[in-house]
C-alpha cells in the first residue's frame, strides 16, 4: 500500500457545525488547517436525525430589531461569520425548520467561505506522537493516508446510539432505525425507553396510530421550559403529556433500565429480580416471572408490540488509540470525553474537543451541546489557540473607565454569546486604574488560568466578570410571583439576567472548586444582579443603569457620575482632582455642555448649583441668537477684544 503523509498545523475532525465553525475561524486567521469528513457532505448527522425531520432549534427571523448581534440570540441555527448574509434564514424561514435544510446551510457555509474540507476521509485510528517535543497526533484514514497534526480539533459529534444491556435488549428497536411512517404502528402497543426529545418526538409521530404508548426511563420528564435546559423536553414535542394527563391511553413510568427484562414471544416487560436465579434463558419467561403475577395492578402488565430505544447518543471513543484517548467524562453517564475548562482533552495535550462532544463542561446546564451555544465556545477555543500557538493575545477593547458602564449596558443588551452560553461564557473586565480592558466571552471555569490562556497580564486592580444567569430555582415556573421587578431584589430573579462579579484578585482553582452550590463562580468581593427584564432590555435609568453605576463605583472606589461642563469647570478649579467623568471628558476637551433646558432640570432636582441667582439671562438665550447670526454670517457682537 502506498503511504501518503499530509502535514497540517490544525486538523479538524468532522465537518459538522462545530468543525465548520472552527474551520471558519482558522481560515480567517489564515492558519494551515484541514477539515476531515468521512461522508460526502457536511453535517451528515442531520441527513438522518432527527428521524422525524423537524429541527427544534428556533429560527426566529422577526425580532422587531435590526441589531445583528441581538438577533443571533433568537437564531439557533446559524454559524458565526463576518458575512451578514450567511445566516440560516437564507435557507429556511420556518420557526422549526426541516432537518434537510441544515446540511444545505452547512454546504453553503463551506462553499461561500471557501473552507478546506476533505470529504471521504474516514479516520480509523488516532495516535499520539511526539513532534519536536510537543505532543501531536497522527490520523490514519481508510486508505492508509496519514495526517500529521500539531493540533487536533475533535468535532465528531455524538452519533453512536446509547444502549443499555438487559435481558431481551436485543429485541428492542433503536431510534436510529425505526420506521418513520406512522402507519407501521397502527393499533400497536409501543413501549419507548427514554423520556428525552427523541422519545417524545417518536411518540408524537405515532400518537395518531399507536394504541398505547408508554415511556419508560429512570428519571421523570424534565421540561425545558422549567429547567431552562434546551436538551430537556421541549414543548414542541410534548403532545404526549396531554394525552397522558387526559387519560388517552398513553403514559409515563419511572424505573431503572438495568432492572428490566423483555420476554421474547410477546414483548412483556418484567424485572430481573423476578427471573430465576440462573434464568438466563428468556424464552422461559412465564407468567410467574411477570410482575403482574405478583402485583395485580402493575402499570406495565400488558404486553407490547414494539419496544423502542430512544436513549440518545455517545461519543465514539473507538477510533482513539490508547495514547490519544481522552477519558470518559465523569458526568453524562460517561458518554462524553472528559475535557478541561478550556476544552482540551484531559491528558491529551494539543487535542481539543468541540461541539456537542464537548458538552460535558455544561451538561444539563447550558447550551454548549447545541449549535447556538457551541458556536461561541468554538470561537473562545480559537482565541485560546491563537494565544497558545501564535502568541496573539485574546482580543480586548481598551476603554476609559468613564465608558465602562455604557459598554457593559451595550453587551448586556445585545451580546448573544453570554446570553446563549449563560453561566459558561462571560465577559471579563480587567481593571487597570483609569482604563480597563474588556475581554468578551471567556470560558468562566478557566478563570484561574485567565492570564495564561488569554495572554493578558493581570494587575492588582482586580477584575469584573459579567455573566448571564438564571436565578434561584423555582418549582412553579408559571405560578404567581415568578417575576421580580424590584431591582433591590434582583438576586431573586428567576429569569435570565446579567450578574456582575467583582474580584480583587483572580480566583484560584481551589476557590473555583469550592464555589457556592449552583454558582458559576466563587463568592466574589462584591456582587451585582441586574434585575430580570420582561423585554430583556436592561437600559432603564432607575432600575438598571443607576444600580449598575453604584456597583461599579463601589468596586472602583470612585464617583462615576456624569457632570455637565459647567460643573466640571467649577470642580476643575475648586478641587485638586475633579471627578473621573470630568477628568476623562471635560479636561480632555470633550465636556458635555447641555443646554439651559437640561440645566434647569438639574437645578430643580437640586443636583446642579444655581449660580444664576442674580444674573440676567445672558449666556444661553444668546445661543439661539448666536445661531441665527451664524447662519447669516454676521460679524459677531461677542467680546473678543479683551
Amino acid at each position: 500500500m502506498h503511504v501518503t503523509i499530509c502535514n497540517h498545523e490544525y486538523c479538524v475532525l468532522g465537518a459538522g457545525p462545530a468543525g465548520l465553525q472552527m474551520g471558519y475561524f482558522l481560515s480567517r486567521s489564515q492558519r494551515d488547517y484541514i477539515i476531515l469528513e468521512r461522508n460526502a457532505g457536511p453535517g451528515s448527522f442531520f441527513q438522518i436525525y432527527p428521524r422525524h425531520r423537524k429541527l427544534i432549534s428556533i429560527n426566529k427571523i422577526y425580532t422587531g430589531r435590526r441589531n445583528k448581534e441581538f438577533n443571533l440570540r433568537h437564531d439557533w441555527n446559524s454559524l458565526l461569520s463576518d458575512r451578514p448574509s450567511l445566516l440560516f434564514q437564507r435557507i429556511s424561514r420556518e420557526l422549526y425548520p426541516n432537518a434537510d435544510d441544515f446540511p444545505r446551510y452547512l454546504s453553503t457555509f463551506v462553499k461561500e467561505l471557501g473552507l478546506k474540507v476533505k470529504y471521504g476521509a474516514d479516520i480509523g485510528t488516532i495516535k499520539a506522537s511526539d513532534f519536536n517535543g510537543n505532543q501531536g497526533y497522527i490520523l490514519t484514514d481508510q486508505n492508509g493516508v496519514s495526517y500529521q497534526c500539531s493540533v487536533l480539533l475533535v468535532s465528531t459529534g455524538l452519533w453512536v446510539p446509547q444502549q443499555v444491556d438487559f435481558l431481551g435488549s436485543d429485541l428492542v428497536e433503536g431510534y436510529e432505525s425505526i420506521p418513520t411512517d406512522p402507519e407501521e404502528f397502527k393499533d400497536q402497543a409501543v413501549l419507548i425507553l427514554g423520556k428525552g426529545n427523541s422519545a417524545f418526538e417518536t411518540a408524537q409521530s405515532i400518537l395518531g396510530r399507536a394504541s398505547r404508548i408508554h415511556l419508560y426511563s429512570p428519571s421523570p420528564v424534565r421540561l425545558a421550559w422549567q429547567t431552562h435546559y434546551v436538551g430537556d423536553l421541549r414543548a414542541i414535542n410534548n403532545e404526549l403529556l396531554d394525552t397522558y394527563q387526559l387519560k388517552s391511553l398513553d403514559g409515563l413510568v419511572e424505573g431503572r433500565l438495568e432492572d428490566i427484562a423483555i420476554g421474547k414471544e410477546q414483548l412483556y416487560l418484567t424485572l430481573t429480580e423476578l427471573l430465576d436465579q440462573n434464568g438466563n434463558n428468556i424464552s422461559k419467561i412465564t407468567g410467574q416471572n411477570l410482575p403482574g403475577f405478583h402485583t395485580d395492578n402493575f402499570s406495565l402488565r400488558q404486553p407490547y408490540d414494539r419496544v423502542i430505544r430512544c436513549l440518545g447518543f455517545r461519543f465514539n471513543f473507538s477510533i482513539f488509540d490508547g495514547s490519544a484517548r481522552p477519558p470518559q467524562s465523569s458526568g453524562a453517564r460517561g458518554r462524553l470525553p472528559g475535557i478541561t475548562a478550556w476544552y482540551e482533552g484531559r491528558g491529551t495535550p494539543n487535542m481539543f474537543v468541540l461541539g456537542t462532544a464537548a458538552h460535558s463542561r455544561d451538561y444539563r446546564m447550558s447550551a454548549g451541546g447545541f449549535v447556538h451555544g457551541f458556536r461561541y465556545t468554538v470561537r473562545a477555543v480559537h482565541k485560546i489557540l491563537e494565544q497558545r500557538y501564535h502568541n496573539i493575545a485574546w482580543p480586548a477593547t481598551k476603554l476609559p473607565i468613564s465608558q465602562l458602564q455604557s459598554w457593559i449596558l451595550r453587551r448586556v443588551n445585545e451580546a448573544s454569546g453570554p446570553y446563549q452560553m449563560f453561566g459558561v461564557l462571560g465577559d471579563i473586565i480587567l481593571l487597570r486604574g483609569s482604563y480597563c480592558e474588556y475581554l468578551e466571552e471567556f470560558p468562566l471555569q478557566a478563570l484561574p488560568q485567565l492570564s495564561a490562556l488569554s495572554g493578558r497580564p493581570l494587575t492588582d486592580q482586580g477584575l469584573l466578570v459579567l455573566v448571564m444567569q438564571y436565578g434561584l430555582n423555582r418549582t412553579d415556573t408559571l405560578g404567581p410571583g415568578r417575576a421580580e421587578s424590584e431591582w433591590t431584589k434582583a438576586w431573586r430573579s428567576n429569569f435570565l439576567h446579567p450578574v456582575l462579579y467583582y474580584y480583587n484578585t483572580l480566583p484560584t482553582e481551589k476557590d473555583m472548586r469550592q464555589r457556592p452550590v449552583g454558582w458559576p463562580l466563587p463568592r466574589p468581593e462584591a456582587l451585582h444582579h441586574m434585575v430580570e427584564d420582561f423585554l430583556t432590555e436592561w437600559d432603564q435609568p432607575i432600575s438598571h443603569s443607576q444600580p449598575l453605576r453604584r456597583f461599579l463605583e463601589h468596586c472602583l472606589q470612585t464617583d462615576l457620575r456624569a457632570f455637565y461642563a459647567e460643573s466640571c469647570f467649577l470642580l476643575s478649579l475648586t478641587s485638586r482632582t475633579p471627578p473621573l467623568f470630568c477628568r476623562q471628558g471635560y479636561l480632555r476637551k470633550q465636556g458635555i455642555v447641555g443646554n439651559s433646558h437640561l440645566w434647569q432640570h438639574a437645578r430643580e432636582a437640586g443636583l446642579m448649583a444655581d449660580h444664576q441667582r442674580d444674573i440676567t439671562p445672558g449666556d444661553d438665550t444668546s445661543v439661539s441668537e448666536y445661531l441665527k447670526h451664524a447662519g447669516a454670517a454676521v460679524v459677531s457682537t461677542m467680546n473678543f477684544d479683551l
Partner: protein
C-alpha cells in the same frame, strides 16, 4: 502659668458640681480686704452693689454658684456692698449695679454687663474666656483659622469650638476644657458660619455648638492640611474630656487578656477594640493597629495585646475582640482592617451615627432617586419626543451611501440609554436645525443600540462620538466640546479650506486682518499663517497635513513665496521674519506674533499651532478652561463683575502691563467674567467662603498646592502692588485665604450589598463550599432497595450523579 491642673482634678471638680454645696465660696470685701486683694495680683471677679432687687437677688444666687466653680481655677468671686464700703471708682456712677469687673491685681481685665453674665454658665464662660484671652484664639474666617493651623503644624494639635451663642453651657464647657488643656493644645473659638462651612458642615441653619480636633502636630509636611476629627456628641465638659482623651490615645498596648485590660475608654463609656499580636508579626500588627486606631479615633479605643504574655488566654482561633460599654468582651476573627472599620462604623456605632446623619443619608440613599445631574435632567425629559427631523437616521443600508454624498457628513454615534448621549443629542439637533438648508453639510446619527455593526465597523468605542466624513477621505474625529456652539463652529470652519493657500501679499494682508473669510470672524478671530520660502520647502507638506488635522478647529493660511514675503513683511511695521515661520494674528489691529517653525512631524506641528493660538491673558470660560489648565501653571485669576465697570477695565489693564514684560511668565494670568460665566461666583465662594466686592484677584496654585491667596482688597489693584504681592506669596509672607480641598470623589452613596442581603435572607446560598465536597458534588444516592416500576411511585432518585434534579439553579 497659674494653671496647674490635672485631669483627675477636673473629674473631681465635675463630680463636685453635682454634690450639695456646703458653704458658700462667695466672699464679701470691705474696703480693707478689697485693697489687700488689689495687691495680691490674683484674679478676682467682683460685683459692686448697694441694694437688692429681685433681679439682683437672682444674680447674686448665680454669683454664689460661680464662686464655687471659679474657685477651682484660682479665681475669687467677690461682692462688695457699696452701702457699707463705698469703694472709689466702682461704688459710684451709673454703672453701679449693672456691671461686674474682672481684676488681675488692681488691673481691670474686663467689665461685664450683668445682662451678659446672667447666670453661672455665662459668668464662668466669660470670665475664663477673658482670662484665657491670649491662649484661646478667636477666629472669624477660614483664612484666620488657616493661619492658626499653619502656625501649629508639627507643633501642637488644635481644638476648634464653634460656639454660636456665647455664655451658654457649651461655651462654658469649651472654656473649662481650654483652661485644663490649654497648654497642650491650641484652642480656637469661632462663631461665624464661614468657618462652619469651611469645616464641611452642610446644614448651616442649626445653631448647635460643635467641636473639632485638628491633628496638626503629626503632619509630615507643612504643606499638608491638618486632618480633622469632629466630635459627634453634644458639647459638654464630660464629652469634651472624653473626646480629647480619645484623641490622645488612639492605641494602647497590653499584656493582659482583654477582660483584664483596664483602659481609660472603658471608664469613658467608649467601645474598645482588642487586637492580638504575635511576637513574629509584632511590627506588622502594630502598624495595622495604628492605622485602625487612626481610622476609628474618637469613636473606639484600640488595644494591642501581646500574645507572648502568659496572661493572655484567649483562644488562638480569634485574633480580635471588642467590648461595648457595659457589656462583656466579644471575640471574633478579623479578616481585614476594612472589615473592622465597617463593623464598627456600620453596625456597632450605628445608633449614635443615625442621630447625626439621618438627614443626609435619607436623601442620598433613597435608592430610586437619580443622583446624577445628566441622567436626572435627561430622565425628566422622558415625555419629550425628540424631533430628529433635521438629523438623518442612518441604517446599515444607508450608511455607506450617505456619508459619501456631501462635502461634509457629520455623524453622531449614540446609545439611547446613555444619558450623556441623550443630553448631547439635544445640542446636536440644535446644530442641525441651525444648519438646515446649508449646502454641502448634512447631519446624521447612528443608534448603536440597533446598528451595532456600523458602530463596530467604524471602530467607535466611546459614546457619544462624532465623526466627520468627507468623500474620499478618512473620517475625522470631532474632538471638541459636546455642545451646540463648539460643534456648530467646528462644522462651519470645516467647510473652509485648510490651509487657505494665499498667493499675494494683498491676500495675506486681508487674511491676517480678517477681511478675507470675514464670515468666520465671529467664529474665531485668530489667524495662523505659515510662511515658507517656496512650495517646494520640506516643511510645506507637513504644514498642510497639520492644517488638515486642524480642520474645523483653526483658520490656517499658507504663503510660500520668498520674494513676496520679503516685500510684504517690509511693509508691515516692526515685522521681521526668518523663514519658515508662523505668524499669528489675534484680530484686526493687534500686532502679529512671529514664531519660528522647526521642521517637525504634522502632529507636533498641530500641538505647536494649538499652543501659539492660546491667548496669553485669556478670559476663562466653561468651554476653553481645559486648554489653559493643560499648561499646568498656577493661575493668577481676576474675577470681574457682570457690569463692565471702569474698575474692571483698569484691573485688566494693570495685569496686562507686567504680562508684556514677561514678569508673569511662570503664571497663567486670566480672568473670569461673572456675567458671562456665572459659575465663577461659586468658584469665588469656594475659594474664600464669601464673595468680596469685585474685581478680585486670586492666585490659586492648583497642581502645585492647595492654597488660594487673595490679593488684599484694601490695596489698589495696580501692577506694582500685584508684583509685590506675588513676591510676598512666593516668599511665604502671605497667608492663604482659602484651601482647595483634595476631594477623594469616592462613591457618592453607600453600597447596596447583595451579598450581605443573601447572607441574611438565604444564609447558605452565597457561601463557599467546605473543602471536602466536589465541584459537581451532588449526592449520589445509589439506593440498593428495589423499586417497582410504577407510575404511582415517588420519583426514583437519579442514578446519574451528573443529572441531579436540582440542576436548574444555574
Amino acid at each position: 502659668a497659674h494653671r496647674i491642673m490635672c485631669i483627675v482634678y477636673l473629674i473631681a471638680f465635675l463630680f463636685s458640681l453635682t454634690s450639695e454645696q456646703c458653704s458658700s465660696k462667695l466672699m464679701e470685701d470691705s474696703s480693707q480686704s478689697f485693697m489687700e486683694r488689689m495687691h495680691t495680683g490674683k484674679t478676682s471677679f467682683i460685683y459692686f452693689g448697694n441694694h437688692v432687687n429681685p433681679t439682683i437677688k437672682l444674680f447674686m444666687e448665680q454669683l454664689e454658684m460661680s464662686a464655687d466653680a471659679l474657685q477651682d481655677y484660682g479665681i475669687s468671686v467677690v461682692k462688695v456692698n457699696c452701702s457699707k464700703d463705698a469703694i472709689a471708682n466702682y461704688c459710684t456712677g451709673e454703672k453701679l449695679m449693672t456691671k461686674a469687673y474682672l481684676f488681675r491685681g488692681s488691673e481691670v481685665l474686663r467689665s461685664f454687663d450683668i445682662d451678659t453674665v446672667f447666670d453661672v454658665n455665662a459668668i464662668v464662660s466669660h470670665v475664663l474666656f477673658s482670662v484665657l484671652f491670649n491662649e484661646v484664639r478667636y477666629v472669624h474666617t477660614p483664612a484666620e483659622l488657616l493661619r492658626v493651623e499653619s502656625a501649629a503644624k508639627q507643633n501642637s494639635d488644635i481644638v476648634v469650638g464653634h460656639i454660636p451663642v456665647l455664655g451658654l453651657p457649651e461655651h462654658r464647657a469649651l472654656m473649662e476644657a481650654a483652661f485644663v488643656y490649654g497648654t497642650k493644645y491650641q484652642f480656637v473659638q469661632t462663631s461665624g458660619t464661614l468657618v462652619l462651612k469651611h469645616m464641611g458642615v452642610v446644614d448651616l441653619s442649626s445653631s448647635q455648638a460643635r467641636l473639632w480636633f485638628l491633628h496638626c502636630k503629626g503632619v509630615s509636611r507643612r504643606s499638608d492640611p491638618c486632618p480633622s476629627t469632629p466630635m459627634r456628641k453634644p458639647l459638654n465638659t464630660i464629652n469634651i474630656h472624653t473626646f480629647l482623651q480619645l484623641m490622645e490615645a488612639p492605641l494602647t498596648e497590653s499584656v493582659l487578656d482583654p477582660s483584664e485590660v483596664d483602659v481609660v475608654h472603658l471608664h469613658l463609656g467608649v467601645p474598645v477594640l482588642y487586637l492580638f499580636s504575635q511576637p513574629q508579626t509584632q511590627h506588622l500588627d502594630r502598624a495595622t493597629a495604628q492605622t485602625l486606631g487612626l481610622q476609628l479615633r474618637g469613636e473606639v479605643g484600640l488595644v494591642l495585646i501581646h500574645r507572648d504574655s502568659p496572661n493572655v488566654k484567649t483562644s488562638l482561633k480569634y485574633n480580635a475582640a471588642y467590648r461595648l460599654p457595659q457589656e462583656d468582651v466579644k471575640y471574633f476573627t478579623l479578616n481585614s482592617a476594612e472589615g473592622v472599620v465597617k463593623l464598627f462604623k456600620e453596625e456597632l456605632l450605628q445608633e449614635q451615627k443615625l442621630e447625626n446623619e439621618e438627614e443626609d443619608e435619607e436623601h442620598w440613599s433613597d435608592l430610586d432617586i437619580l443622583d446624577d445631574e445628566v441622567s436626572e435632567s435627561v430622565y425628566r425629559d422622558r415625555d419629550l419626543m425628540l424631533d430628529l427631523e433635521s438629523v438623518i437616521e442612518l441604517t446599515s443600508d444607508t450608511f455607506q451611501i450617505t456619508v459619501t454624498q456631501d462635502d461634509i457628513t457629520v455623524v453622531l454615534f449614540y446609545f439611547k440609554w446613555d444619558a450623556v448621549c441623550m443630553a448631547f443629542i439635544q445640542s446636536y439637533i440644535e446644530v442641525a436645525d441651525a444648519l438646515e438648508g446649508m449646502n454641502g453639510v448634512k447631519l446624521a446619527a447612528v443608534n448603536c443600540g440597533e446598528w451595532t455593526d456600523i458602530c463596530s465597523d467604524q471602530n467607535v468605542t466611546s459614546f457619544p462620538t462624532v465623526l466627520i466624513y468627507r468623500p474620499m477621505a478618512a473620517a475625522q474625529l470631532y474632538r471638541g466640546m459636546l455642545g451646540t456652539k463648539s460643534l456648530h463652529r467646528f462644522i462651519l470652519l470645516s467647510l473652509g479650506s485648510s490651509p487657505y493657500i494665499l498667493s499675494s501679499s494683498a491676500e495675506v494682508m486681508s487674511f491676517m486682518e480678517g477681511d478675507l473669510y470675514s464670515k468666520h470672524m465671529y467664529l474665531t478671530p485668530v489667524r495662523v499663517l505659515g510662511l515658507f520660502s517656496s512650495t517646494h520647502d520640506m516643511g510645506v507638506t507637513s504644514f498642510e497635513e497639520a492644517a488638515r488635522l486642524l480642520r474645523g478647529e483653526s483658520i490656517l493660511g499658507l504663503f510660500a513665496h520668498k520674494e513676496m514675503i520679503h516685500v510684504w513683511t517690509s511693509e508691515v511695521e516692526g515685522l521681521s521674519v526668518n523663514l519658515p515661520a508662523l505668524l499669528v494674528s489675534r484680530g484686526p489691529g493687534v500686532p502679529y506674533e512671529v514664531y519660528s517653525l522647526p521642521s517637525s512631524s504634522p502632529t507636533d506641528l498641530v500641538s505647536l499651532i494649538k499652543q501659539v493660538e492660546l491667548d496669553r491673558f485669556p478670559e476663562l470660560t466653561v468651554e476653553n478652561l481645559p486648554w489653559y489648565l493643560e499648561l499646568g501653571k498656577p493661575l493668577l485669576l481676576l474675577f470681574i463683575g457682570k457690569e463692565d465697570s471702569t474698575e474692571s477695565t483698569k484691573a485688566l489693564a494693570e495685569i496686562k502691563q507686567p504680562l508684556s514684560s514677561g514678569q508673569l511668565d511662570s503664571f497663567l494670568p486670566c480672568w473670569i467674567h461673572l456675567g458671562r460665566t456665572p459659575v465663577g461666583r461659586s468658584i469665588l465662594e469656594k475659594y474664600l467662603g464669601f464673595v468680596p466686592p469685585l474685581p478680585v484677584l486670586v492666585m490659586s496654585q492648583l497642581k502645585t498646592g492647595e492654597e488660594v491667596f487673595l490679593f488684599p482688597p484694601e490695596r489698589p489693584l495696580m501692577a506694582k502692588n500685584i508684583l509685590q504681592w506675588i513676591h510676598d506669596v512666593e516668599n511665604g509672607q502671605e497667608q492663604p485665604a482659602g484651601l482647595i480641598p483634595d476631594g477623594k470623589w469616592g462613591p457618592p452613596v453607600p453600597f447596596f450589598d447583595f451579598l450581605a442581603i443573601m447572607d441574611q435572607e438565604a444564609p447558605t446560598y452565597a457561601v463557599q463550599r467546605a473543602p471536602k465536597m466536589k465541584t459537581g458534588g451532588r449526592e449520589d444516592h445509589r439506593e440498593n432497595k428495589h423499586v417497582t416500576p410504577n407510575q404511582k411511585q415517588t420519583p426514583h432518585p437519579s442514578s446519574n450523579p451528573q443529572a441531579p434534579r436540582q440542576h436548574s439553579e444555574l
